[in-house]
Amino acid sequence: MKKLVLIGAALLLGAGCYPGEVTSIDQLDLVATVRNPDFGFGSVGSFYLPDTIVQLNEGEQGAIDIDRSHDDEILAKVRGKLLALGWSELDEGDIDNGLVPDIAVLNLVSASQNTTWWVGYPGGCWDPYWCWGWGWPPSVGVSTYSAGTYFVVMGDAAGVTTPGANDDLAGVWGGVMDGVLSSNSASNFTRLLSGIDQMFTQSPYLSGSGN
């Protein structure tokens, strides 16, 4: 009895238990925002929003094709959020006429397939850390999942006298939504729109308050 107890103690050392369960795919969604604390959003009055969502990892190893059928709706969501801040939009015609926006807003996306492995224990042992039967070898499985990341990035366009494709802009705000891509494209789209909403909800300083 004594030796079994001590052997059990030795085995327990280094173990770890993580009993939490993910019950729906949206529990794996994450929305993060970051700002440049030295930039005053109270001075922003106008923005330029390109009409293209750029895929960052297109053609790279692991990259997967993205459903682009909702691009216009996604850009419309971002545009609506920016207009709601009281900012006015400059279009390409305004830019060609020499007007310079205060902020340039870029939309970026990446999607990739990821591989993960797991170890399972037989004999109906659903929680290996509480089961003492080590008589059978564990089984190892491999699974893949697709993950996507959407970025909304704002750059400070002030001081740019001749706007062009090669201008370097200082980033002043970034929003990112990351999550697992399901096979249901409509679900992915709905969750992305909610994520864009959350980016702006958790960034009240964009309206100029608290700057």
């Binding site: 107890v5 280094g14 700002r35 990351d178």
Partner: protein, 196 residues
């Protein structure tokens, strides 16, 4: 990792040395439930039903024992919300876990008479290695620190038969700050069985 192996080896050697005086020792295990407090509760607020402990006590006199204790408690929590950072924020479903492995030397004093239900008090001193892990989205961070710790306890020993006894106790664990990890506190409620 090397420290963990050394502690396990020492435990095995101590057990082997105890064989020559087997009648002076009793060994057993307990089921532990944990109630987080203070900083531990800030990280994992839920009452936990996942825990075990293994104990060996050497009878020193009619009323006193000394011994060793090794436990494993798991506390976890799931919370939806937004965490504010210095220059940003993160929103998601946060899953947090604490795996605590208290390693104690202890001493106990028993009231009452042998053969009956005996209340006792005790003190534990040692270390608690604690792994704290936070998951949000597809990301996880974890940190393991060894905290100096103590744990006063009080309980009852209940005779169940020849050389078999049950015990019920409550043990208040307090772990000192270790590096970047703040101090930790939690109470375990334990029920177990031991034999010579």
């Amino acid at each position: 990792m090397k420290t963990m192996i050394a502690v396990a080896a020492a435990a095995l050697l101590l057990g082997t040395a105890g064989d020559a005086q087997a009648q002076g020792w009793f060994w057993g295990g307990t089921y532990s439930m944990s109630m987080p407090l203070s900083n531990t509760k800030d990280f994992n607020s839920k009452f936990s039903f996942r825990g075990v402990a293994i104990e060996g006590r050497k009878v020193m006199s009619e009323n006193a024992t000394v011994g060793l204790s090794f436990g494993w408690q798991v506390m976890d929590d799931t919370r939806d919300g937004t965490v504010q950072l210095e220059n940003g924020a993160i929103t998601g479903t946060f899953m947090t876990y604490t795996n605590a492995f208290p390693l104690f030397a202890n001493a106990h004093y028993y009231f009452g008479q042998r053969g009956g239900i005996r209340p006792y008090v005790g003190a534990n001193v040692g270390v608690i290695p604690m792994e704290r892990r936070a998951e949000v989205g597809l990301f996880a961070v974890s940190d393991t620190k060894w905290h100096l710790a103590g744990a006063p306890e009080a309980g009852f020993v209940i005779p169940l038969g020849w050389y078999v006894r049950g015990f019920v106790n409550a043990r208040w664990h307090f772990a000192l700050k270790a590096g970047s990890a703040p101090s930790q506190q939690y109470v375990t409620f334990n029920i177990g069985i031991a034999s010579n």
